[in-house]
């Protein structure tokens, strides 16, 4: 886990400095500074040091919570991201809840029903680009019906949650399909297993069988795939945040890319990867509770 992060940090750091062009050029924004000024800027941002030293400084800085200075915004990367993180986390959290609740719910429904109606539904849902979903949701439920705010993140938890509903739904429509599919497939697979027939033939009620033997056993892949979704979800906030005029980490990533604000881009990439690693480590830890066979292996 730590190794993954270390490798990633190195990749991210080195790749961004492989970018064509001198980072100083981005810093001075095309102004034509004197050589003295240039040297000052180079020194200030540490470009005059050799690559390993720079990497080491960056790495140790990060461990102390210092992610460097943003080129674009006159503030530290930590504060730039920190101020946007809560709303993004709330969005991701709410989406995750919706995705899991509705994805698993639909998956169960689809598994217990004959026919592939549910699958078709979620397939079409997933095929709708999230930005299109966002635009449609906003114009219908925000503008036309006025049920939800159309822009911004709100203030105070209740208000923030209210602001997050439509963006979260837009993300859910896109990401739910995978969870639904996996749940359905996993449930169907379990349903076809002999142990289910055993408990059924023993006279346990259908609901008990479904709950305690089918769903419970089908949970493993669902948890795994939910864990895998998380990083994609984090990045996709870029789309719905842009579409909903929210200033979160996702939209920050896009503007930072637009402005070649590498320190911010690096930090966000690492954030995404770290989240992925942490979430999946948690999944790995939880998994044996779901499937004791893994514990033995």
């Amino acid at each position: 886990m730590a190794l993954t992060l270390l490798v990633t940090s190195f990749l991210v750091f080195s790749s961004l400095y492989l970018a064509p062009g001198d980072p100083v050029a981005f810093l001075v924004k095309g102004r034509s500074p004197s050589p003295d000024q240039l040297a000052a800027i180079r020194h200030e941002y540490g470009f005059d040091k050799p690559f390993p030293v720079r990497y080491w400084d960056w790495l140790t800085g990060m461990l102390h919570g210092d992610f460097g200075q943003s080129y674009q915004l006159h503030a530290s990367v930590a504060s730039v991201i920190g101020s946007r993180l809560p709303s993004t986390l709330l969005l991701v959290g709410l989406s995750t809840v919706l995705i899991v609740v509705f994805g698993v719910g639909l998956g169960i429904f689809g598994a217990l029903r004959k026919g592939k109606g549910v699958v078709v539904l979620v397939t079409v849902g997933a095929a709708v680009p999230s930005f299109t979903a966002a635009i449609v949701l906003r114009s219908v439920f925000g503008v036309r019906l006025g049920w939800f705010p159309t822009v911004g993140t709100g203030s105070g938890f209740g208000d923030e949650l209210h602001h997050m509903v439509l963006p979260a739904v837009a993300l859910t429509i896109t990401f739910m399909a995978l969870v639904t599919r996996v749940t359905r497939a996993s449930m169907l697979e379990e349903l076809g297993r002999e142990h289910v027939e055993v408990v059924t033939s023993r006279g346990l009620s259908r609901s008990t069988v479904i709950r305690r033997h089918v769903l419970r056993n089908a949970l493993g892949p669902v948890v795994t795939v939910s864990g895998l979704l998380i990083s994609g979800l984090l990045v996709s906030t870029a789309i719905v945040e842009s579409a909903f005029g929210m200033n979160g980490v996702g939209s920050l990533l896009v503007t930072s890319v637009d402005h070649m604000d590498f320190p911010v881009v690096q930090a966000i990439v690492l954030l995404v990867v770290a989240t992925f690693v942490v979430v999946n480590t948690v999944v790995d830890l939880v998994y044996p509770l779901i499937d004791p066979r893994v514990r033995a292996a």
Binding site: R193, E194, H195, V199, S201, R202, G203, L204
Partner: protein, 329 residues
Amino acid sequence: MNTLLDIKGLTVAMAGLGRPILDEVSLAVHDGEAVALVGESGSGKSVTARTALGLFPGGATVSGSVVVGGTEVVAAGPGDLRRVRTSVASMIFQDPRAGVNPVRRIGDFLTEPLRRIQGRSKAEATAQALELLGAVGMPDPPRHLRQFPHELSGGMLQRVMIAYALTADPRLLLCDEPTTALDVTTQAEIMAILGRLRRDRGLGILLITHDLDLAASVCDRVYVMYAGRIMEAAPSAALTSVPRHPYTRGLLGSAPPLTGPMPRLAPIPGAPLGLAEAVSGCPFAARCAHVVPGLCDATTPTLERHGDSQVACLRAAELIDETQGEGLR
């Protein structure tokens, strides 16, 4: 004598198949009786046993009658089915590893029906589970209750499955090849347990197997099945000593003996009838050495009584004479 399982004229058919899965099957198990159902793969043994619990293949059309402990299960309501399943008949499956929920502890598995169906308290259920594990010869029941299925060997798990079936305190035990996945030595143990249960509890047993020797050695009566039909039904001793149906004879001639002279095997030619193949007349006709064209492929034989046995062969009478003649010679 009380009839626990009484199947009469059961036909299970599915659209798109050449022949019915089960065709006019009749079979009975009485109180305390051990009956074997023998046949090759795909002949319909499992389907027959499942019908006793109201488990019909999805989408199948079913006709005939299956009476279990006095309840007709063909077209039975959920209540009746539940009653049959929870207090009359239980089933043991071939592969114990596939039959136990792998993510639950053995204790959980065993006490679940006791608490949810029989309505026992947790302590009562646990006590009963311990007792049942003891009854099927598990060495250390308290420890096994805490174990997960993957921590037990196949033989041990099959005992757990038997204990599970016993939680219903059934009068009829349907055993679908309970030892096929196990070693021969373990097979003997499982058979010993089943025999004991039969003796102690007066259980009726329907044992499904494709091992005719096993069937004959532990059961009172044997049904031989082929392509969804019962070919011959006879007391064990009669079946092995005087097999009356050519198919039964073929089966006996196919298994090499462990002792005595070792002639070249006389296998039945061809392969068992697939579900896609349509039949007219006797389903065994295509593989039968005694087939009479125009007769066997035209008329479907029904079970007829010949001595102690019932045989479904149009030429049964002549063939029996023939073999007896052979025997004399």
